[in-house]
């Protein structure tokens, strides 16, 4: 019994934010009279927050390198929108070359900022503050202060489209493909979890108690199935959802399993020690900021597609949403600590708060106040619990 208590205690901090997210969801589910978890609303919630989710992934890496942030991403989102709008709406360029060019521009922006940050060693805060002004200015120059609209339908589909229900042979009222995919994912997860456990047994490593393991698997499978039910009951899986899911998997594997991923953590933990262990920290920092701008370009495409226009005021304060998501999700402001999944959960906490309060008719002024307090409390909780565990 004592053993199980200990296991729960050890794992609870890891899951604290996830539990907080569930609590917030239950609170709003009751507060909104059940509207929050309407299938349509769940889909909307993901769509509304897609840009924060994408930005938070890149921002996590920046923060990991040593508490560095990127203030320019909001302006880059607007700039990318302006470029894609000019190419596709004004110049009538087809979508794929236009996408390649916009992503290429994201890469160039990253190379530009990364150069100043990593090789000239100007603090990231300053370089990206400059970038924030620079790219906002360029956005206005390109758009001449005007809003471009509408995009061709195939571009709108990036954020508005759904995976077609090609498995629905018998005319079911719900999206069969989604449910099937949910089952496939669940089975894959169970197989992977069991394989990992067996491998640990093989190496004689300590495993969590069987009961705990089964409970964990059941909760996650239930989560996957619940989500696929929600999506299936509305229009199925949004395309942007697939994009975000892929990014989350890639970056989680990258940070947790690869050598360069480990280098990012090492640099944030102690840059000097990392250098003297043979790590080229300039290169790590450079890559991180190039990566951030490319992801900002992806977010720019997703956002302009969603609002179906290129606007000079797009993306304002997106950088702050992304930064807040990372810190709520447990990243350390000093670097070296944090996960992509944490940032995603942090972004969802903010998203659910926004969505739930809007449905409940809470004024925008009060919404901001509450979000500010949530950010502060989440980080304070983290700091205090860490201090306690140190004893």
């Amino acid at each position: 019994m004592e053993n199980i208590g200990k296991t729960i205690k050890n794992n609870i901090r890891q899951y604290a934010m996830l539990i907080a997210l569930v609590v917030i969801m239950i609170f709003f589910q009751i507060g909104t009279g059940g509207i929050l978890l309407y299938p349509m609303n769940v889909t909307n919630l993901v769509l509304q927050n897609s840009y924060v989710l994408i930005l938070a992934i890149g921002m996590t890496l920046c923060i990991l390198t040593g508490g560095n942030i990127d203030l320019s991403v909001g302006s880059v989102v607007a700039f990318i929108g302006a470029v894609s709008g000019t190419l596709m709406i004004n110049m009538k360029m087809p979508m794929f070359p236009a996408l390649l060019i916009t992503l290429g521009i994201g890469l160039l922006i990253g190379l530009w900022q990364g150069f100043w940050i990593a090789y000239i060693r100007i603090p990231a805060f300053i370089v990206t503050l400059a970038g924030m002004l620079l790219f906002r200015g360029l956005t206005n120059t390109i758009l001449q202060g005007l809003t471009l609209a509408p995009y061709p339908p195939e571009y709108q589909a990036i954020s508005g489209g759904f995976i077609p229900d090609f498995l629905n042979f018998f005319g079911a009222s719900f999206n069969v493909t989604t449910i099937v995919l949910g089952i496939v994912l669940s089975v894959l997860y169970v197989i992977m979890a069991i394989r990992k456990r067996k491998e640990r047994d093989k190496y004689n490593f300590e495993n969590t108690p069987t009961l705990f393991f089964i409970a964990q698997v059941i909760i996650i499978v239930a989560g996957i199935m619940l989500l696929s039910y929600w999506l299936a009951a509305y229009k199925g899986i949004p395309i942007i959802f697939v994009i975000i899911g892929t990014l989350v998997v890639i970056y989680t594997v990258f940070t947790q399993k690869t050598v360069p991923g480990r280098y990012i953590y090492a640099m944030g933990g102690n840059e000097k020690a990392a250098q003297l262990s043979g790590i080229n920290t300039n290169k790590v920092l450079f890559f991180t900021y190039v990566n951030m701008s490319v992801l900002a370009a992806v977010a720019g495409i997703s956002f302009s597609s969603r609002i179906n226009s290129a606007s000079p005021v797009a993306g304002q304060s997106f950088e702050l949403d992304a930064i807040a998501a990372c810190f709520i999700g447990g990243a350390s402001a000093y670097g070296g600590v944090g996960t992509v999944i944490g940032a995603i959960i942090g972004a969802l906490v903010m998203g659910v708060l926004n969505n739930g309060m809007s449905i409940m008719g809470v004024g925008i002024d009060l919404q901001m106040t509450i979000k500010g307090l949530v950010l502060l409390i989440a980080v304070a909780f983290d700091v205090i619990s860490k201090r306690k565990s140190r004893g």
């Binding site: 050598v259 933990g269 000097k272 020690a273 140190r390």
Partner: protein, 511 residues
């Protein structure tokens, strides 16, 4: 002279550990009282109780100071009655001047406005008293650690100190600065200032202390009076470790092979001030299975030399030749050095050797991730096995390999750093002050590991400021001074005197 301080039955418990167990500690007025013990014996805890860092109520027992029972709530309370503690890590603000630092928290002021002329006037007086020849306007970042230590003492004097507590004051100082500091303590004693000295360096303790109290595992083992009890280092060490240490250095039969590593005509300039030469025409050789010492005073250029070899991690305009196994090689980055079998253990494990917020496992594998990964993907199971292997092989005392490096004791941290570099499988291992600030027992373990590595045929370059250990474990010793090699001594020729003679002679030649 009466008793100035008596601590009675002090017990202090941290979650899970009894740091102090019923300790009785008595200090006579006007004496220098040394407090010795291994790391974790409770010396610092006891002093923190005394100075109010652990406030009254968080420990049990009584403190009687100048005949009064004291209940300090914080460090200000203890400073008010004249107890000042100077910690091992100096607490000066680098970007404030010496004068500002001396009166920090104790400003010469009226109604909140600082009287700068009085500040600097008094500062000048106090600097004279500690024999520091610097302007009180100089910024602290611009003076050496030795001088900073003197500023700390002057700061204590400004607080009208009666009982001065020095925690490892010479840990970061070279021989000269250390002697200077010890002389100063003796002088302060003449002025009636009582001093508690925490130190690992027994030769220093022997030199200045009137009384020695030995702590072990949170308990006071014995108090020895100089001149009354028969005291020698062996007796004190026995008290500290609880057993007789026949040898402070493990025995080894060196099996020395052919030359494995050679540095020729090595010249290095300062990284920023590129016309200042730091390393001058250095030539050294290391053979297989040999432990070669580099001795010298602090600032002799030993660390700079080692780092400049290690993938040019220090310096600019580096010239010279490195020959490994008979072939000339060149390392332009740290990575290249490691990949070619040269590893360097840094002087400062906390700021440059370890990632304190990360666990033992990740720290050990960091320079050698290639060995445990395939196509850039880390094999986590293999990583755990490697970490477990080194944890047991080097006896790293920890709850598991998942314990954060920052929560380990100094000796165990050093074992993690050693594991890290042993796992990188170097042929040449450069160790820079590998036993700094760790206790006698852990030192012995680390010497044993170093000996084993040499017996496996590795070549060890051993940099240390402590003469006894250089003499104790090296097969051959280079003496470095002012960026030059000024002497090469065999084990038979080497002694404290012969090393100092090399340094003194070279100083004379330069002048």
């Amino acid at each position: 002279m009466g008793t100035i301080l008596e601590m009675r039955n002090i017990t202090k418990v941290f979650p899970g550990v009894k740091a102090l167990d019923n300790v009785n500690f008595k200090v006579e007025a006007g004496e220098i009282h040394a407090l010795v013990g291994e790391n974790g014996a409770g010396k610092s805890t006891l002093m923190n109780v005394l100075s109010g860092i652990y406030p009254h109520g968080t420990y049990s027992g009584e403190i009687i100071y100048e005949g009064n029972v004291c209940t300090f709530r914080d460090i200000r309370d203890s400073e008010k009655v004249g107890i000042v503690i100077i910690h091992q890590e100096l607490a000066l603000q680098p970007y404030l001047s010496i004068g500002e630092n001396m009166f920090l928290g104790n400003e010469r002021q009226k109604h909140g406005f600082i009287n700068w002329s009085r500040t600097h006037l008094e500062a000048r007086e106090l600097l004279k008293r500690v024999r520091l020849n610097e302007s009180s306007q100089t910024l602290v970042k611009d003076i050496s650690v030795g001088k900073q230590q003197l500023v700390e003492i002057a700061k204590a004097l400004a607080k009208k100190v009666k009982l001065l507590i020095l925690d490892e004051p010479t840990a970061a100082l070279n021989e000269d600065d250390s002697n200077n500091l010890l002389d100063l303590i003796l002088e302060l004693k003449k002025d009636g200032i009582t001093c508690i000295l925490i130190s690992h360096k027994l030769n220093e303790v022997m030199k200045v202390a009137d009384t020695i109290t030995i702590l072990r595992d949170g308990a006071a083992i014995e108090t020895l009076k100089v001149g009354v009890d028969a005291i020698d280092e062996d007796r004190v060490i026995k008290g500290m470790v609880g057993r007789t240490m026949v040898n402070r250095f493990p025995k080894r039969e060196p099996k020395i092979g052919e030359v494995a590593f050679e540095v020729r005509d090595w010249n290095v300039y300062h990284p920023v001030i590129t016309d200042r030469k730091i390393i001058k025409d250095v030539n050294i050789k290391v053979r297989r299975g040999e432990i070669v010492g580099i001795s010298g005073l602090m600032g002799a250029g030993r660390t700079e030399f080692a780092m400049s070899i290690f993938g040019k991690a220090y310096g600019s305009r580096i010239s010279g030749q490195i020959i490994k196994d008979g072939k000339p090689v060149e390392f332009n980055t740290v990575r290249e050095a490691i990949d070619n079998g040269v590893s360097y253990l840094t002087e400062d494990r906390k700021s440059a050797g370890l990632i304190l917020i990360d666990d033992i496992r990740h720290n050990i594998t960091l320079p050698s991730l290639k060995k445990i990964s395939k196509k850039g993907f880390i094999d986590h199971n293999k990583e755990v096995m490697v970490a477990e292997e080194y944890r047991s092989k080097l006896d790293i005392k920890s709850s598991s390999i998942l314990q954060k490096a920052g929560n380990l004791s100094g000796g165990n941290q050093q074992k993690v750093v050693l594991s890290k570099w042993i796992f990188s499988r170097p042929d040449i291992l450069i160790l820079d002050e590998p036993t700094r600030g760790i206790d006698v027992g852990a030192k012995y373990e680390i010497y044993t590991i170093i000996n084993q590595l040499a017996d496996e045929g590795k070549s060890i370059i051993f940099i240390s400021s402590e003469l006894p250990e250089i003499l104790g474990i090296c097969d051959r010793i280079y003496v470095m001074n002012d960026g030059r090699i000024v002497g090469e001594l065999t084990r038979e020729e080497a002694s404290s005197e012969s090393i100092m003679k090399c340094i003194m002679q070279s100083n004379r030649e330069v002048v």
